[in-house]
Symmetry: C2
DNA sequence: CCGGATCCGAATCGATACTG
DNA sequence: CAGTATCGATTCGGATCCGG
Protein backbone atom coordinates (compact mmCIF):
# COMPACT_ATOMS: atom_id res chain seq x y z
CA UNK A 1 0.00 0.00 0.00
CA UNK A 2 2.88 2.35 0.68
CA UNK A 3 3.94 1.63 -2.86
CA UNK A 4 1.45 4.24 -4.03
CA UNK A 5 2.76 6.82 -1.61
CA UNK A 6 4.45 9.84 -3.09
CA UNK A 7 6.74 10.04 -0.07
CA UNK A 8 5.90 13.60 0.87
CA UNK A 9 4.25 15.13 3.89
CA UNK A 10 1.97 17.58 2.14
CA UNK A 11 -1.73 18.25 1.74
CA UNK A 12 -1.77 18.12 -2.05
CA UNK A 13 0.07 14.81 -1.95
CA UNK A 14 -2.34 13.37 0.59
CA UNK A 15 -5.25 14.49 -1.58
CA UNK A 16 -3.98 12.89 -4.77
CA UNK A 17 -3.20 9.71 -2.92
CA UNK A 18 -6.88 9.64 -1.97
CA UNK A 19 -8.56 10.69 -5.20
CA UNK A 20 -5.79 10.77 -7.79
CA UNK A 21 -6.20 7.22 -8.99
CA UNK A 22 -7.71 6.56 -12.33
CA UNK A 23 -11.53 6.95 -12.36
CA UNK A 24 -11.74 8.12 -8.75
CA UNK A 25 -12.49 11.75 -9.53
CA UNK A 26 -15.19 10.77 -12.00
CA UNK A 27 -16.87 8.58 -9.42
CA UNK A 28 -16.87 11.57 -7.10
CA UNK A 29 -18.25 13.76 -9.86
CA UNK A 30 -21.23 11.48 -10.34
CA UNK A 31 -21.80 11.10 -6.60
CA UNK A 32 -21.89 14.88 -6.27
CA UNK A 33 -25.16 14.74 -8.20
CA UNK A 34 -26.64 12.39 -5.64
CA UNK A 35 -26.36 8.92 -4.12
CA UNK A 36 -25.92 6.21 -6.73
CA UNK A 37 -26.10 2.45 -6.85
CA UNK A 38 -23.24 0.35 -8.09
CA UNK A 39 -25.14 -0.20 -11.32
CA UNK A 40 -25.91 3.50 -11.76
CA UNK A 41 -22.22 4.29 -11.48
CA UNK A 42 -21.39 1.59 -13.96
CA UNK A 43 -23.87 3.04 -16.44
CA UNK A 44 -22.65 6.58 -15.86
CA UNK A 45 -19.07 5.46 -16.47
CA UNK A 46 -19.59 3.11 -19.40
CA UNK A 47 -15.90 2.38 -19.91
CA UNK A 48 -14.97 1.58 -16.33
CA UNK A 49 -14.03 -2.06 -15.69
CA UNK A 50 -16.17 -3.46 -12.93
CA UNK A 51 -13.22 -4.61 -10.86
CA UNK A 52 -11.82 -1.08 -10.92
CA UNK A 53 -15.14 0.36 -9.86
CA UNK A 54 -15.37 -1.94 -6.87
CA UNK A 55 -11.75 -1.34 -5.96
CA UNK A 56 -12.16 2.45 -6.10
CA UNK A 57 -15.32 2.36 -4.05
CA UNK A 58 -13.49 0.37 -1.40
CA UNK A 59 -10.57 2.81 -1.40
CA UNK A 60 -12.85 5.83 -1.27
CA UNK A 61 -14.65 4.33 1.71
CA UNK A 62 -11.36 3.73 3.50
CA UNK A 63 -10.41 7.30 2.73
CA UNK A 64 -13.61 8.60 4.30
CA UNK A 65 -14.85 10.04 1.00
CA UNK A 66 -17.71 7.66 0.31
CA UNK A 67 -20.19 5.80 2.45
CA UNK A 68 -22.08 2.62 1.62
CA UNK A 69 -25.72 2.91 2.65
CA UNK A 70 -28.14 -0.03 2.61
CA UNK A 71 -31.54 0.98 1.28
CA UNK A 72 -34.80 0.27 3.07
CA UNK A 73 -36.47 -1.28 0.05
CA UNK A 74 -33.63 -3.62 -0.83
CA UNK A 75 -30.47 -2.64 -2.63
CA UNK A 76 -27.84 -0.16 -1.51
CA UNK A 77 -26.36 3.13 -2.58
CA UNK A 78 -23.03 4.86 -2.35
CA UNK A 79 -23.02 8.44 -1.22
CA UNK A 80 -20.43 11.07 -0.44
CA UNK A 81 -19.58 11.77 3.17
CA UNK A 82 -19.43 15.38 4.33
CA UNK A 83 -15.73 15.20 3.68
CA UNK A 84 -16.28 13.87 0.18
CA UNK A 85 -18.81 16.58 -0.55
CA UNK A 86 -16.13 19.14 0.20
CA UNK A 87 -14.57 18.12 -3.08
CA UNK A 88 -17.29 19.97 -4.94
CA UNK A 89 -15.29 23.17 -5.48
CA UNK A 90 -12.37 21.08 -6.72
CA UNK A 91 -14.51 19.20 -9.22
CA UNK A 92 -16.22 22.37 -10.38
CA UNK A 93 -12.92 24.17 -10.84
CA UNK A 94 -11.48 21.19 -12.69
CA UNK A 95 -14.55 21.12 -14.90
CA UNK A 96 -14.18 24.79 -15.78
CA UNK A 97 -10.50 24.29 -16.45
CA UNK A 98 -11.00 21.25 -18.64
CA UNK A 99 -13.88 22.88 -20.47
CA UNK A 100 -11.53 25.32 -22.15
CA UNK A 101 -9.45 22.54 -23.62
CA UNK A 102 -12.39 20.48 -24.87
CA UNK A 103 -12.33 20.06 -28.60
CA UNK A 104 -15.00 18.33 -30.57
CA UNK A 105 -16.18 14.99 -29.25
CA UNK A 106 -14.47 11.81 -30.34
CA UNK A 107 -16.76 9.31 -32.02
CA UNK A 108 -16.56 7.11 -28.93
CA UNK A 109 -17.48 9.93 -26.54
CA UNK A 110 -20.81 9.84 -24.77
CA UNK A 111 -22.69 12.40 -22.71
CA UNK A 112 -24.14 11.04 -19.50
CA UNK A 113 -26.84 12.54 -17.35
CA UNK A 114 -24.53 13.02 -14.39
CA UNK A 115 -21.71 14.57 -16.37
CA UNK A 116 -24.09 17.00 -18.05
CA UNK A 117 -25.65 17.85 -14.71
CA UNK A 118 -22.25 18.69 -13.29
CA UNK A 119 -21.31 20.54 -16.44
CA UNK A 120 -24.30 22.82 -15.94
CA UNK A 121 -23.22 23.38 -12.36
CA UNK A 122 -19.72 24.31 -13.46
CA UNK A 123 -21.06 26.76 -15.99
CA UNK A 124 -23.69 28.28 -13.72
CA UNK A 125 -23.05 31.93 -12.90
CA UNK A 126 -24.95 32.76 -9.75
CA UNK A 127 -24.10 36.47 -10.02
CA UNK A 128 -25.57 36.67 -13.49
CA UNK A 129 -28.59 34.62 -12.52
CA UNK A 130 -29.55 36.83 -9.59
CA UNK A 131 -30.01 39.82 -11.84
CA UNK A 132 -32.15 37.83 -14.27
CA UNK A 133 -35.74 36.61 -13.93
CA UNK A 134 -36.27 33.01 -12.92
CA UNK A 135 -36.42 30.48 -15.72
CA UNK A 136 -37.35 26.87 -16.16
CA UNK A 137 -35.74 24.94 -18.99
CA UNK A 138 -35.90 21.44 -20.33
CA UNK A 139 -32.70 20.47 -22.07
CA UNK A 140 -32.10 17.46 -24.28
CA UNK A 141 -28.61 16.41 -25.29
CA UNK A 142 -28.18 13.09 -27.07
CA UNK A 143 -30.46 10.81 -25.05
CA UNK A 144 -30.30 12.64 -21.74
CA UNK A 145 -33.07 14.97 -20.69
CA UNK A 146 -32.71 17.44 -17.86
CA UNK A 147 -35.03 19.87 -16.18
CA UNK A 148 -33.00 22.95 -15.36
CA UNK A 149 -34.59 25.42 -12.97
CA UNK A 150 -32.95 28.72 -12.20
CA UNK A 151 -34.33 30.97 -9.52
CA UNK A 152 -32.28 33.84 -8.22
CA UNK A 153 -28.88 32.46 -7.29
CA UNK A 154 -30.32 28.96 -7.05
CA UNK A 155 -29.90 26.18 -9.58
CA UNK A 156 -31.79 22.92 -9.57
CA UNK A 157 -31.12 20.22 -12.12
CA UNK A 158 -33.36 17.16 -12.30
CA UNK A 159 -32.75 14.16 -14.49
CA UNK A 160 -35.89 13.23 -16.37
CA UNK A 161 -35.60 10.10 -18.47
CA UNK A 162 -34.35 7.57 -19.28
CA UNK A 163 -34.60 5.95 -16.90
CA UNK A 164 -37.07 6.72 -14.13
CA UNK A 165 -35.85 9.46 -11.82
CA UNK A 166 -33.16 7.90 -9.63
CA UNK A 167 -33.11 7.44 -5.91
CA UNK A 168 -34.39 10.47 -4.10
CA UNK A 169 -35.25 12.19 -7.34
CA UNK A 170 -38.52 13.98 -7.70
CA UNK A 171 -39.88 15.25 -10.94
CA UNK A 172 -40.76 18.93 -10.79
CA UNK A 173 -44.35 19.95 -11.30
CA UNK A 174 -45.46 22.34 -13.99
CA UNK A 175 -44.30 23.00 -17.48
CA UNK A 176 -40.90 24.36 -18.41
CA UNK A 177 -40.78 27.78 -20.05
CA UNK A 178 -38.58 26.45 -22.80
CA UNK A 179 -37.79 23.01 -24.17
CA UNK A 180 -34.79 22.73 -26.42
CA UNK A 181 -32.39 20.18 -27.80
CA UNK A 182 -28.67 20.57 -28.31
CA UNK A 183 -25.76 18.73 -29.79
CA UNK A 184 -22.21 18.74 -28.44
CA UNK A 185 -21.78 22.13 -30.11
CA UNK A 186 -23.57 23.60 -27.12
CA UNK A 187 -20.06 23.92 -25.77
CA UNK A 188 -19.50 26.82 -28.13
CA UNK A 189 -22.58 28.56 -26.79
CA UNK A 190 -21.39 28.19 -23.21
CA UNK A 191 -17.99 29.58 -24.16
CA UNK A 192 -19.55 32.54 -25.94
CA UNK A 193 -18.07 31.48 -29.23
CA UNK A 194 -21.59 31.25 -30.64
CA UNK A 195 -24.72 33.25 -29.87
CA UNK A 196 -27.90 31.23 -29.47
CA UNK A 197 -29.12 32.63 -32.78
CA UNK A 198 -25.98 31.47 -34.56
CA UNK A 199 -26.24 28.12 -32.82
CA UNK A 200 -29.73 27.64 -34.21
CA UNK A 201 -28.49 28.56 -37.66
CA UNK A 202 -25.78 25.93 -37.39
CA UNK A 203 -28.20 23.32 -36.08
CA UNK A 204 -26.36 23.14 -32.79
CA UNK A 205 -29.53 24.12 -30.95
CA UNK A 206 -33.15 23.47 -31.78
CA UNK A 207 -36.16 24.82 -29.92
CA UNK A 208 -38.79 22.16 -29.33
CA UNK A 209 -41.36 24.33 -27.66
CA UNK A 210 -41.74 27.41 -25.51
CA UNK A 211 -40.29 30.87 -25.59
CA UNK A 212 -37.23 30.85 -27.86
CA UNK A 213 -36.04 34.21 -26.56
CA UNK A 214 -35.18 32.47 -23.30
CA UNK A 215 -32.16 30.98 -25.02
CA UNK A 216 -30.43 34.31 -24.53
CA UNK A 217 -31.08 34.16 -20.83
CA UNK A 218 -29.82 30.58 -20.75
CA UNK A 219 -26.59 31.64 -22.43
CA UNK A 220 -26.12 34.45 -19.93
CA UNK A 221 -26.79 32.16 -17.01
CA UNK A 222 -24.54 29.33 -18.14
CA UNK A 223 -21.20 30.58 -19.33
CA UNK A 224 -17.56 29.71 -18.92
CA UNK A 225 -15.27 32.57 -19.69
CA UNK A 226 -11.99 31.38 -21.15
CA UNK A 227 -9.28 32.37 -18.72
CA UNK A 228 -11.46 32.44 -15.64
CA UNK A 229 -11.31 29.25 -13.64
CA UNK A 230 -11.71 30.68 -10.16
CA UNK A 231 -13.62 28.26 -7.99
CA UNK A 232 -16.90 28.95 -6.27
CA UNK B 1 -3.42 7.36 -26.94
CA UNK B 2 -7.19 6.95 -26.97
CA UNK B 3 -6.62 4.08 -24.60
CA UNK B 4 -6.38 6.59 -21.78
CA UNK B 5 -9.59 8.27 -22.78
CA UNK B 6 -12.50 7.98 -20.39
CA UNK B 7 -14.89 8.07 -23.32
CA UNK B 8 -16.94 11.03 -22.13
CA UNK B 9 -17.49 14.47 -23.53
CA UNK B 10 -17.15 16.46 -20.33
CA UNK B 11 -14.94 19.14 -18.83
CA UNK B 12 -13.98 17.18 -15.74
CA UNK B 13 -13.04 14.21 -17.88
CA UNK B 14 -10.94 16.34 -20.19
CA UNK B 15 -9.18 17.83 -17.18
CA UNK B 16 -8.27 14.53 -15.58
CA UNK B 17 -7.08 13.20 -18.90
CA UNK B 18 -4.66 16.14 -18.93
CA UNK B 19 -3.48 16.22 -15.33
CA UNK B 20 -4.90 13.11 -13.74
CA UNK B 21 -1.95 10.86 -14.42
CA UNK B 22 0.30 9.85 -11.62
CA UNK B 23 2.71 12.63 -10.55
CA UNK B 24 1.28 15.22 -12.94
CA UNK B 25 -0.50 17.30 -10.30
CA UNK B 26 2.62 17.35 -8.12
CA UNK B 27 4.71 18.61 -11.01
CA UNK B 28 2.16 21.39 -11.45
CA UNK B 29 2.25 22.11 -7.73
CA UNK B 30 6.00 22.65 -7.82
CA UNK B 31 5.84 24.72 -11.00
CA UNK B 32 3.27 26.98 -9.36
CA UNK B 33 6.08 28.15 -7.09
CA UNK B 34 8.15 29.16 -10.07
CA UNK B 35 9.97 27.87 -13.15
CA UNK B 36 12.09 24.82 -12.42
CA UNK B 37 14.76 22.85 -14.18
CA UNK B 38 14.47 19.16 -14.83
CA UNK B 39 16.87 18.53 -11.99
CA UNK B 40 15.01 20.80 -9.60
CA UNK B 41 11.82 18.89 -10.25
CA UNK B 42 13.60 15.62 -9.73
CA UNK B 43 14.91 16.82 -6.37
CA UNK B 44 11.55 18.21 -5.35
CA UNK B 45 9.92 14.88 -6.18
CA UNK B 46 12.51 12.50 -4.79
CA UNK B 47 10.53 9.36 -5.56
CA UNK B 48 9.67 10.09 -9.17
CA UNK B 49 11.34 7.84 -11.74
CA UNK B 50 13.17 9.92 -14.29
CA UNK B 51 11.36 8.34 -17.23
CA UNK B 52 8.02 9.26 -15.70
CA UNK B 53 9.18 12.82 -15.14
CA UNK B 54 10.22 13.25 -18.75
CA UNK B 55 7.05 11.55 -20.01
CA UNK B 56 4.83 13.80 -17.90
CA UNK B 57 6.66 16.92 -18.97
CA UNK B 58 6.15 15.95 -22.57
CA UNK B 59 2.44 15.28 -22.02
CA UNK B 60 1.95 18.50 -20.10
CA UNK B 61 3.57 20.40 -22.94
CA UNK B 62 1.29 18.77 -25.48
CA UNK B 63 -1.64 19.65 -23.25
CA UNK B 64 -0.61 23.31 -23.19
CA UNK B 65 0.00 23.27 -19.44
CA UNK B 66 3.78 23.56 -19.41
CA UNK B 67 6.31 25.33 -21.58
CA UNK B 68 9.99 24.50 -22.06
CA UNK B 69 12.12 27.62 -21.95
CA UNK B 70 15.81 27.69 -22.84
CA UNK B 71 17.79 29.87 -20.47
CA UNK B 72 20.15 32.61 -21.60
CA UNK B 73 23.03 31.42 -19.45
CA UNK B 74 22.81 27.79 -20.53
CA UNK B 75 20.36 25.25 -19.26
CA UNK B 76 16.60 25.34 -19.53
CA UNK B 77 13.55 25.55 -17.32
CA UNK B 78 10.00 24.32 -17.42
CA UNK B 79 7.30 26.81 -16.57
CA UNK B 80 3.53 26.87 -16.49
CA UNK B 81 1.67 28.48 -19.34
CA UNK B 82 -1.14 30.90 -18.52
CA UNK B 83 -3.47 27.98 -18.91
CA UNK B 84 -1.42 25.87 -16.51
CA UNK B 85 -1.32 28.68 -13.98
CA UNK B 86 -5.10 28.62 -13.91
CA UNK B 87 -4.78 25.35 -12.03
CA UNK B 88 -3.71 27.27 -8.94
CA UNK B 89 -7.17 27.35 -7.35
CA UNK B 90 -7.52 23.63 -8.00
CA UNK B 91 -4.20 22.82 -6.37
CA UNK B 92 -4.89 25.10 -3.41
CA UNK B 93 -8.33 23.61 -2.88
CA UNK B 94 -6.90 20.11 -3.14
CA UNK B 95 -4.22 21.05 -0.65
CA UNK B 96 -6.78 22.32 1.85
CA UNK B 97 -8.87 19.22 1.34
CA UNK B 98 -5.97 16.82 1.77
CA UNK B 99 -4.65 18.73 4.75
CA UNK B 100 -7.58 17.61 6.85
CA UNK B 101 -6.82 13.97 6.23
CA UNK B 102 -3.08 14.24 6.89
CA UNK B 103 -2.04 12.09 9.79
CA UNK B 104 1.44 11.99 11.17
CA UNK B 105 4.25 11.67 8.66
CA UNK B 106 5.43 8.25 7.57
CA UNK B 107 9.11 7.61 8.26
CA UNK B 108 9.79 7.84 4.52
CA UNK B 109 7.99 11.18 4.14
CA UNK B 110 9.99 14.27 3.33
CA UNK B 111 9.12 17.96 3.32
CA UNK B 112 10.36 19.82 0.28
CA UNK B 113 10.77 23.54 -0.16
CA UNK B 114 8.16 23.71 -2.91
CA UNK B 115 5.57 21.62 -1.11
CA UNK B 116 5.96 23.71 2.03
CA UNK B 117 5.73 26.90 0.03
CA UNK B 118 2.46 25.77 -1.51
CA UNK B 119 1.24 24.54 1.86
CA UNK B 120 1.68 28.05 3.23
CA UNK B 121 -0.24 29.41 0.28
CA UNK B 122 -3.08 26.97 0.88
CA UNK B 123 -3.24 27.94 4.54
CA UNK B 124 -2.94 31.68 3.98
CA UNK B 125 -6.03 33.61 4.99
CA UNK B 126 -5.96 36.93 3.18
CA UNK B 127 -9.01 38.22 5.06
CA UNK B 128 -7.36 37.59 8.41
CA UNK B 129 -4.06 39.01 7.23
CA UNK B 130 -5.52 42.32 6.10
CA UNK B 131 -6.74 43.12 9.59
CA UNK B 132 -3.37 42.30 11.11
CA UNK B 133 -0.09 44.24 11.00
CA UNK B 134 2.51 43.15 8.46
CA UNK B 135 4.93 40.50 9.59
CA UNK B 136 8.15 38.96 8.35
CA UNK B 137 8.94 35.40 9.39
CA UNK B 138 11.73 32.96 8.79
CA UNK B 139 10.50 29.40 9.07
CA UNK B 140 12.62 26.27 9.29
CA UNK B 141 11.11 22.83 8.82
CA UNK B 142 13.44 19.87 8.56
CA UNK B 143 16.15 21.19 6.25
CA UNK B 144 14.08 23.72 4.34
CA UNK B 145 14.22 27.37 5.25
CA UNK B 146 11.66 29.89 4.03
CA UNK B 147 11.28 33.61 4.34
CA UNK B 148 7.58 34.29 4.76
CA UNK B 149 6.49 37.90 4.34
CA UNK B 150 2.94 38.95 4.99
CA UNK B 151 1.81 42.46 4.17
CA UNK B 152 -1.88 43.24 4.06
CA UNK B 153 -3.53 40.68 1.84
CA UNK B 154 -0.20 39.89 0.21
CA UNK B 155 1.95 36.84 0.84
CA UNK B 156 5.48 36.36 -0.37
CA UNK B 157 7.41 33.18 0.26
CA UNK B 158 11.09 32.96 -0.62
CA UNK B 159 13.19 29.83 -0.41
CA UNK B 160 16.42 30.50 1.42
CA UNK B 161 18.80 27.57 1.55
CA UNK B 162 19.84 24.98 0.69
CA UNK B 163 20.68 25.46 -2.05
CA UNK B 164 21.31 28.92 -3.46
CA UNK B 165 18.08 30.74 -4.31
CA UNK B 166 16.76 29.21 -7.52
CA UNK B 167 16.24 30.80 -10.87
CA UNK B 168 14.66 34.19 -10.58
CA UNK B 169 14.79 34.06 -6.82
CA UNK B 170 15.91 37.08 -4.89
CA UNK B 171 16.70 37.03 -1.23
CA UNK B 172 14.76 39.68 0.67
CA UNK B 173 16.72 42.40 2.40
CA UNK B 174 16.46 43.11 6.08
CA UNK B 175 15.93 40.92 9.09
CA UNK B 176 12.82 38.87 9.77
CA UNK B 177 10.79 39.81 12.82
CA UNK B 178 10.74 36.23 13.98
CA UNK B 179 12.82 33.17 13.22
CA UNK B 180 11.39 29.85 14.30
CA UNK B 181 11.74 26.16 13.65
CA UNK B 182 8.99 23.60 13.44
CA UNK B 183 8.52 19.88 13.12
CA UNK B 184 5.73 18.17 11.22
CA UNK B 185 3.48 18.86 14.19
CA UNK B 186 3.09 22.39 12.84
CA UNK B 187 0.12 20.85 11.06
CA UNK B 188 -1.72 20.83 14.38
CA UNK B 189 -1.04 24.53 14.82
CA UNK B 190 -2.41 25.31 11.36
CA UNK B 191 -5.52 23.28 12.10
CA UNK B 192 -6.06 25.04 15.40
CA UNK B 193 -5.64 21.81 17.32
CA UNK B 194 -2.71 23.37 19.16
CA UNK B 195 -2.06 26.95 20.19
CA UNK B 196 1.45 28.23 19.57
CA UNK B 197 2.10 28.15 23.32
CA UNK B 198 1.07 24.51 23.53
CA UNK B 199 3.13 23.75 20.46
CA UNK B 200 6.21 25.16 22.15
CA UNK B 201 5.48 23.09 25.24
CA UNK B 202 5.31 19.98 23.09
CA UNK B 203 8.48 20.87 21.22
CA UNK B 204 6.59 21.17 17.96
CA UNK B 205 7.74 24.77 17.63
CA UNK B 206 10.91 26.47 18.79
CA UNK B 207 11.71 30.15 18.58
CA UNK B 208 15.22 30.79 17.35
CA UNK B 209 15.19 34.56 17.61
CA UNK B 210 12.91 37.54 17.46
CA UNK B 211 9.55 38.36 18.91
CA UNK B 212 7.92 35.14 20.12
CA UNK B 213 4.52 36.81 20.45
CA UNK B 214 4.37 36.93 16.64
CA UNK B 215 3.65 33.23 16.68
CA UNK B 216 0.06 34.08 17.54
CA UNK B 217 -0.17 36.28 14.51
CA UNK B 218 1.34 33.55 12.38
CA UNK B 219 -1.28 31.09 13.61
CA UNK B 220 -4.06 33.53 12.81
CA UNK B 221 -2.67 34.21 9.36
CA UNK B 222 -2.08 30.59 8.38
CA UNK B 223 -4.99 28.43 9.28
CA UNK B 224 -7.05 25.68 7.69
CA UNK B 225 -10.42 25.28 9.28
CA UNK B 226 -11.58 21.67 9.18
CA UNK B 227 -14.69 21.60 7.03
CA UNK B 228 -13.88 24.67 4.98
CA UNK B 229 -12.27 23.85 1.68
CA UNK B 230 -13.75 26.61 -0.44
CA UNK B 231 -11.26 27.70 -3.04
CA UNK B 232 -9.78 31.16 -3.42
C1' DC C 1 26.53 18.18 -13.14
C1' DC C 2 22.42 18.61 -16.60
C1' DG C 3 18.81 16.43 -19.30
C1' DG C 4 17.34 12.96 -20.40
C1' DA C 5 16.91 7.66 -22.92
C1' DT C 6 16.80 2.60 -22.25
C1' DC C 7 15.86 -1.68 -20.19
C1' DC C 8 13.29 -4.79 -17.35
C1' DG C 9 10.62 -6.76 -13.41
C1' DA C 10 6.57 -5.45 -10.62
C1' DA C 11 2.25 -3.53 -10.11
C1' DT C 12 -1.95 -1.77 -12.11
C1' DC C 13 -5.46 -1.52 -15.53
C1' DG C 14 -8.83 -3.21 -19.03
C1' DA C 15 -11.86 -6.71 -20.99
C1' DT C 16 -14.42 -10.50 -20.40
C1' DA C 17 -16.47 -14.14 -17.98
C1' DC C 18 -18.72 -15.74 -14.15
C1' DT C 19 -21.29 -16.04 -9.46
C1' DG C 20 -24.30 -15.53 -5.06
C1' DC D 1 -28.07 -6.22 -8.38
C1' DA D 2 -23.54 -6.23 -6.75
C1' DG D 3 -19.90 -7.56 -7.22
C1' DT D 4 -15.25 -11.70 -7.96
C1' DA D 5 -12.05 -14.11 -10.86
C1' DT D 6 -9.03 -14.42 -14.43
C1' DC D 7 -5.65 -13.00 -17.66
C1' DG D 8 -3.38 -10.35 -21.33
C1' DA D 9 -2.09 -5.42 -22.18
C1' DT D 10 -0.16 -1.21 -20.17
C1' DT D 11 2.02 1.53 -17.14
C1' DC D 12 5.05 2.36 -13.36
C1' DG D 13 9.24 2.01 -10.63
C1' DG D 14 14.17 1.32 -10.09
C1' DA D 15 18.42 1.15 -12.02
C1' DT D 16 21.62 2.03 -15.32
C1' DC D 17 23.58 4.33 -19.13
C1' DC D 18 24.69 8.14 -22.33
C1' DG D 19 25.74 12.53 -24.87
C1' DG D 20 26.70 17.33 -23.82
Amino acid sequence: MASRSYGQYCGVTTAVELIGERWAMLIVRDLLVGPRRYTDLKQGLPKIPTNILSTRLKELQEGGVVRRVPLMNCGLVYELTDYGRQLEPVVLALGRWGFQQMGDPQPEDVVTADSLTMALRTAFRAEAATSLPAADYELHVADVALRVQVDGAGLRVTQLAPPAPPVGGRVPDGEPDLVFAAGPGIRRVISGELTPAQAIDEDVLAVVSGDATLLERFAQTFHIDPGVVLAA
